[in-house]
């Protein structure tokens, strides 16, 4: 494994399939991304999309949960969580924004394609989408802050759903204006939209790209995440059948989020490792104080490097441990339990925080090379910051954790 030796992980948990995944994705990163990554921020069509296509379709990340006979990877159980984690670590190293697309895609798929929730009907129905030769990104539509745009008064841990739902036969009609998906509002193949199902609690329904009465607005300009062509959605009573409602209930909703947070943590971990390489290179080659000192031999810079290394080492252990916990519900209980969900939240917040701190420090050390596009570092910094805020607003994260660990009732 690429960084295995220098930053130890609980390697006893990593299986052969994971190791070969790492190898494949690392090679993809070298060949498809790193070689031309400077340009990627600018040209989605010419540069990013081909790399995504290679990863999602040719290597097959988007179809790994489908049966081999449909052209998928044949992974069915929660053990896939570890495979996803190690893959995303590599993807995130190459291009964090592509990692974020796959984190979303996996979280969407986890609701119907991972045991014990495998839904053969849906798998068959969506096989043409995810096992085909077109990139198929899944994108979550989660509760967010309320305000003039909020469609519903119901909340998930204080955050209103962006979409309101009315019963429509066996299914629902979904409505919402200026609904912001996590990614790829312009071009996701499937949106997994959270809404309130009344007594059933939170629910998630899958909407396809071409769903009637679903439209997307202008592309959003944002700090980072070049691979995500995001845009707000308008849902004007979009009808969705009961079979497309992939989950209901808090436990199932938390389970989806646990997988999502883990995937995002792994993506960010990859970013951190990329930043490590950039900083290491800088530290080895830069000379300061006249010609007196190789950068890394300066005690102040080295101390910051030491701290960064420490955060990487611990972030890595945490991410792998979370992946393990999610991959073995037989040992650790369901991914949607309060405990697992909160561990996932804590891990995501910890890893994202550690990454931002380390990247900020790295930029401070590299000074103008830190913010010049040419050295690549600033791109990871923008991407991680965007993920950190987009996945969950800070306030909601801590309130959730307090609720669980301190028994708060009104938060």
């Amino acid at each position: 494994m690429k960084y295995q030796e220098i930053f130890p992980v609980p390697c006893e948990w990593v299986q052969d399939i994971d190791e070969s995944m790492v190898e494949t994705v690392a090679r993809w990163g070298e060949q498809e991304v790193v070689s031309g990554r400077l340009e990627h921020t600018e040209d989605y069509d010419k540069l990013l999309l081909p790399a995504i296509h290679k990863l999602f379709c040719d290597i097959g990340l988007q179809s790994m949960l489908w049966p081999e006979e449909s052209g998928g990877g044949g992974l069915e159980t929660a053990e896939v969580a570890m495979t996803v984690a190690v893959a995303l670590e590599q993807v995130g190293t190459a291009d964090t924004s592509i990692g974020f697309l796959f984190a979303n895609t996996f979280a969407v798929q986890s609701t119907f394609a991972v045991e014990p929730h495998r839904n053969e009907e849906l798998l068959a129905e969506l096989a043409p989408v995810f096992c085909g030769d077109d990139v198929a990104v899944g994108s979550l539509v989660l509760p967010g802050y309320g305000g003039s745009n909020a469609a519903a008064r119901e909340e998930f841990y204080g955050l209103p759903y962006q979409v309101s739902a009315e019963r429509h036969g066996e299914g629902w009609a979904l409505s919402g204006e200026a609904v912001r998906p996590q990614c790829s509002g312009k071009n996701a193949a499937v949106f997994a939209v959270a809404f309130d199902a009344g007594d059933g609690g939170p629910a998630v329904a899958l909407l396809g790209e071409g769903a009637k009465r679903l439209s997307s607005g202008e592309p959003i300009k944002k700090t980072g995440l070049a691979a995500s062509l995001n845009a707000d959605l308008d849902l004007k009573g979009v009808e969705v059948g009961g079979g497309r409602v992939v989950l209901t209930g808090e436990d199932r909703f938390r389970e989806m989020l646990s997988f999502y947070y883990m995937s995002c943590a792994a993506t960010i971990l990859g970013s951190l490792l990329a930043a490590y390489e950039i900083l290491k290179e800088w530290g080895n080659t830069r000379v300061i104080k006249g010609k007196g000192q190789v950068f890394k031999e300066n005690p102040l810079d080295a101390a910051l490097m030491g701290r960064a290394a420490s955060r990487i080492a611990t972030s890595r252990v945490l991410t792998y441990t979370l992946a393990r916990m999610l991959s073995r519900p037989d040992i650790y209980g369901p991914a949607g339990s309060q405990g697992m969900f909160n561990t996932a939240t804590a891990t995501f917040k910890q890893v994202a925080g550690a990454a931002m701190l380390s990247m900020n420090n790295a930029m401070e050390m590299m000074a103008s090379a830190g913010y010049a596009t040419e050295w690549n570092l600033e791109r990871y910094w923008r991407d991680v910051k965007t993920i950190e805020g987009t996945v969950i607003p800070e306030t909601a994260a801590w309130a959730m954790l307090a609720r669980h660990y301190f028994g708060c009732r009104t938060l």
Partner: protein, 422 residues
Amino acid sequence: MPGIDDFTRPVEYLSPLDRSLGEIVRSWAEKEVLPYRREYDEDWEEHRLIEPAFDRLMGELGLQRVLFPEEVGGWGLGHSDYLGTGSYRMFEEIARADSAMAVAFGVVFWPLIMICNEPHVNMRLCEEFAPMFIETNKAVFTANAMTEPQGGADIENMDLLGGSTIETCAILEGDEWVINGHKLWPTNSAGVADLFGVVCTTSPGSTDPEEFAFIFVPADTEGVTQGKPYQKAGMAADKNSDIWFENVRVPSWYRACGPGDDFKYFKEIISLGSMGTIAFVSGAMMNIYEILREFCEEKTFRGRPLKENDDVAGVLADFVRDLEVIRVIGYQAARMMDRPDLYGDRWSEEMVAKTRAFKYFAADKAVENVGLVMNLMGAHGSDRVRDVEKHWRDLKIVQLWMGGKQLCQMEVARWFFDCETL
């Protein structure tokens, strides 16, 4: 209801011009910058949107003249008691709209400090250069060509290295300096500036302060070549590039203050640059305060406006607290620049250390706070329509220039703890 004008300033320190400077710049910013700044990121190479705004502020409103002595048509700020506080107010108001514009504007004065400020006014050069700024209604820029490829902040690390790492060389041939060298990163390079202040050595490798030379070079002098602008995380209005000087010839009197004094007064560039940086920081933070007020009233959590959530309020409180603090120390730094009779020479090691301390404090706190504000805003934090993400990117750059954080730390420790080898 409190607004940006209710943050504390030491009122005793304010310049008589404070109010009018503030009003001129604020109304310019509201009209010429705020409506367009969201498009600036795409304008980083061409400055199609950015240039006209500069023309209005600097040429038409005339703010590019303020430093020059009255005798040559300037406003005399350079020899007033309000050099610091007057500049602070302008910089802050510009930075509220766009901190890259603030730095591009501020840097106009940076090399001119060497010839416009008491006690080292160089009237011959003032007379020579003032017309290009005064007899025009277009923006005219200068740039300070300091940094070189080999050493980053080494040039600014004057107390340790004494200029010994400067490779840009100036040789006196008759009545002319012949300059050869390669500089990186100056604000207002990539073709923007009409006049450079170039940090040279008259004897490569020497640590003798007498060999340190600060020489003016008009940008159109033969042998001056500028590269294309670098692409950066932000700060589109601030263009930076490589500059090559190849057998560039300028008159011998283009050296700012002469042997010894160039070295000595160059430190004023550091202290004043640090002071200005604090103004960029507080200006940007004032704008973020305005945005936050609106955002936290509009958005809700648990059905109530964000600002009524105690946890959110904690982040808001820390933000305005730090802005209060930054502004107070910013004005203190400005006052120290205004009144060397009370606080010591602007070029003294003490003033360099203290303004460096205030500068890196302000920048660190801003970066930290704006990061937290973005997290608070959730998905809206990274959305360009809120402008916070722009300030976040810009402020990171503000934190890193002039040698970045570590050099500030070393200079501060060196003075307060009498260190010798940092």
